[in-house]
């Protein structure tokens, strides 16, 4: 749950630099932004290299990534364990789909509107949860309940097409403004990459901002943070709003990429679980954990699908069976929580900084 490791590493770097009397190293956020820029640049040619089906996997990874970054802000940095991020994903998806299908509004505007709606709903849910002092499991269950209520209500509300959901109307050719391109176009990947890059950048900047530090301090010790002047309620609300808005981006983009959304896809509990598992496997409360987690979880179902479609001989009994991908990531989740509670990235970073200090 902590990111002592990364800050420790930063601290160690600074100390050595100071002792050696060299120029001060990059501030942590600038260093992280630099790494992000490098990663994004490296990823740009991917859709041109990968075969089309794998291009789709890459886009899926980026959608997971945005979701996990959103979840991580609230539950990793803020320590507010959400079990209902499907609510915000779904609000992003439904707001943009509704505006596009019913009113012909550009998906970009829809995305912004979805972010606003998700943030507002998150603040309302958050306000009541904090006001009534829901903690830990109770908070998690409350978030879950709200996501499920949204699913049930959309399922039976004709104004948003009920259980049928929305199909995004097709256009001729491609249009950035309509966020629609020919099937398999690399533009989808690039746009997702920009959105994911922005999400990670926001998460970096937020983590190192005054507000972000307050949020982490409130997570570590709420009363102590308040006692040095951290406005608790305001920062908790800010955290849930930011987290919800980023998650809503994933929802809106999902709708545009898959051109279809229904209550189960938008608000189903599996969406919440995917956000959690991705962030936890990568490293909860770290900047890069969601990135690592998304790569692993996102490609896992593709790898297992291949394995199941054409299993090697010793796995022949698996042919046509299902659920293997979920089983694998469930096992991974359990093992990681038991053995490396800081996630894959958090643990590796901790190891590195430990070795540096020695």
């Amino acid at each position: 749950m902590t990111d002592t490791a990364t800050t420790g590493a930063a601290g160690a770097t600074r100390a050595t630099a100071a002792q050696a009397g060299t120029a001060p190293p990059l501030r942590p956020q600038n260093r992280q932004l630099l790494i992000l820029a490098v990663l994004v640049l490296l990823a740009i040619p991917l859709p041109l290299i990968l075969p089309p089906a794998q291009g789709a996997v890459a886009v899926r990874i980026l959608i997971f990534l945005i979701m996990a970054v959103g979840w991580n802000i609230m539950s990793g940095f803020g320590g507010l364990f959400s079990f209902g991020h499907a609510a915000y994903f779904g609000l992003g998806a439904y707001t943009s789909a509704y505006l596009l299908v019913e009113h012909g509004v550009s998906p970009w505007v829809g995305m912004a509107a979805g972010m606003a709606v998700a943030a507002a709903v998150a603040m309302v849910i958050g306000y009541f949860s904090f006001r009534y002092n829901l903690k830990g499991a109770y908070f998690a269950l409350a978030t879950f309940a709200f996501a499920e209520m949204l699913r049930l209500v959309t399922t039976s509300t004709d104004a948003v097409n009920g259980a049928v959901g929305y199909q995004v109307p097709l256009i001729q050719g491609s249009s950035v403004w309509q966020l629609q391109f020919p099937a398999g176009s690399p533009a989808y990947f690039w746009i997702a990459l920009v959105l994911a890059g922005l999400a990670v950048a926001v998460s970096i900047l937020f983590r190192h901002s005054h507000a972000g530090r307050y949020v982490v301090a409130i997570r570590d010790d709420e009363l102590a943070a308040a006692s040095v002047g951290a406005p608790v309620m305001r920062h908790k609300l800010l955290t849930v709003a930011l987290s919800a808005a980023i998650t809503a981006i994933a929802g809106a983009f999902y709708t545009q990429y898959y051109l279809f959304i229904d209550p189960q896809l938008a608000f189903g509990s599996s969406v919440s679980i995917e956000a959690i598992v991705t962030a936890v496997i990568g490293g909860i409360g770290t900047i890069w954990g969601p990135v690592v987690g998304a790569v692993i979880v996102g490609s896992l179902s593709d790898v297992t699908a291949t394995l199941l479609a054409t299993p090697p001989e010793f796995l022949g009994f698996l042919q046509g069976r299902s659920g293997l991908d979920v089983i694998l990531y469930a096992v991974m989740l359990i093992l990681i929580v038991r053995l490396m509670p800081k996630g894959i990235f958090g643990t590796l970073a901790g190891k590195i900084s430990e070795r540096r200090r020695r």
Binding site: L26, Q54, R60, Q167, A183, D262, L308, G320
Partner: protein, 413 residues
């Protein structure tokens, strides 16, 4: 220093992406021969062969496979010099986004047409992929009617839609009840609350009202959580309805049958509408005597057609299970695409699409004539049939030309 380490870690991550993606390379590697003049003609089959719909999905994949074998035994595609047909399969896992990416994969693998997908939400996504890639998509099982309201040119459907079945159900009900001398006046309807049940209930209500029936009460329920329908059946009993129409999935329909058995409402008949249970052999064995005399209006394999019987015997022999209607529909859908290729004399998907729009194919499922598509992509000759459980067997009972025996308009309690 640390920057370098992190960059190293990052590139490892990227390698992982590539490795992860490389994992499924074999499935996409077959794409070279796409649409070219040699090799087999590829038809893509998308079904949920894993996940909660796996049993039906597997049935349908096998049905499609049997169709391909049949075509090849008969000498392949004659207009292309006897080229063989090959089925390329994909698993949708019952998830729309997987269905979409798998459809894309099959198309880039050179499929001239797609069949599938059993679930409306998946078919919605695949129909979009088909439209954008200009590859024909012939749906075997897909209940939702919404897909055909977008004006897509590349989507076709063999089975009667949800609305069509429900409309037939209302017609059959008036006719059968009149024949029996107990004309129906008031029908209660229970339906599960997603698009499938709601769509069927809407269409049924409209058709029944047009025929002068009163439809009340109308009761919806959440199939994923309901575990007891006694109160709802009590409500039906209290309403004095003559007939109860039920539009639901398997488990909930079974629970409704159990509740009916408990409450024993004063009904003339139980009337399945696109019902997921009341025409299934599994329902007969699970429900036992309490399911006796239940009616169901649905699409169905043509039990009167010798060719269908032969196909189902073949299936039973090969796979050790009775062939379900979905599998027969998949068979019909593959036959339709193959006929399109034959007619077009080409493997160009656009040409195949135009040919499919014009072909006539004799189906092994119940229909009013050969499969023939209207402008909207719907099979104009698709038809529903009324079935009834009689002495522990599902029998076609109406309309008369498809009937295996006469309807017994009564209840068993």
């Amino acid at each position: 220093m640390i920057v370098r380490k992190l960059i190293a870690a990052a590139s490892t991550g990227l390698l992982l992406v590539t490795a992860g993606c490389g994992g499924s390379a074999p499935s996409g590697a077959a794409g070279d021969a796409a649409g070219s003049g040699s090799g087999p003609v590829r038809i893509g089959a998308l079904h949920p062969v894993s996940g909660s719909m796996a049993v039906d999905g597997l049935q349908m994949r096998r049905g499609a496979q049997l169709a391909v074998e049949k075509i090849n035994e008969a000498g392949g595609i004659a207009s292309l010099g006897g080229r063989d047909v090959q089925l390329t399969t994909a698993d949708t896992q019952g998830k729309p986004e997987i269905g979409q990416s798998e459809a894309q994969r099959l198309i880039s693998g050179g499929a001239v047409g797609l069949v599938g997908t059993y679930q409306s939400s998946v078919s919605s996504n695949v129909s979009v992929v088909a439209e954008r890639n200009e590859v024909p998509f012939v749906m075997d099982v897909t209940a939702a009617d919404e897909i055909f309201q977008h004006g897509y040119r590349y989507s076709f459907r063999v089975q009667p839609g949800n609305g069509a079945i429900a409309t037939s159900a209302a017609e059959f009900l008036t006719k059968v009840s009149e024949q029996a001398g107990k004309p129906v006046r008031k029908v209660a309807i229970m339906h599960e609350q997603t698009d499938f049940g709601t769509g069927a209930a809407d269409a049924f209500t409209e058709a029944a009202t047009d025929l002068g029936l009163e439809v009340a009460p109308r009761i919806s329920y959440d199939a994923t959580t309901a575990s007891d329908f006694t109160s709802q059946i009590t409500q039906v009993k209290a309403s004095g309805a003559d007939v109860l129409a039920v539009s639901g999935y398997y488990s909930d329909s079974l629970l409704i049958a159990q509740a009916i058995n408990a409450v024993k409402p004063d009904l003339d008949a139980v009337w399945g509408v696109s019902n997921g249970a009341y025409d299934q052999p599994k329902f007969v064995s699970d429900a036992g005597p309490i399911g006796e005399n239940y009616f169901s209006t649905n699409y169905h394999f043509d039990a009167q057609n010798p060719e269908t019987r032969q196909l189902r015997e073949e299936y039973q022999r090969r796979y050790g299970a009775p062939m379900r209607t979905g599998a027969v529909l998949a068979y019909d859908a593959v036959q339709t695409i193959a006929a399109g290729v034959e007619h077009a004399g080409s493997t160009d998907p656009v040409a195949v699409r135009n040919a499919i729009a014009k072909v006539k194919v004799d189906p092994l499922t119940v229909g009013d004539g050969p499969v023939r598509f209207g402008r909207d992509g719907e099979n104009v000759n698709s038809a529903a049939v009324l079935m009834q459980i009689q002495n522990g067997r599902v029998k076609q009972v109406y309309p008369p030309r498809k009937a295996e025996s006469d309807p017994d308009y009564s209840v068993a309690w």
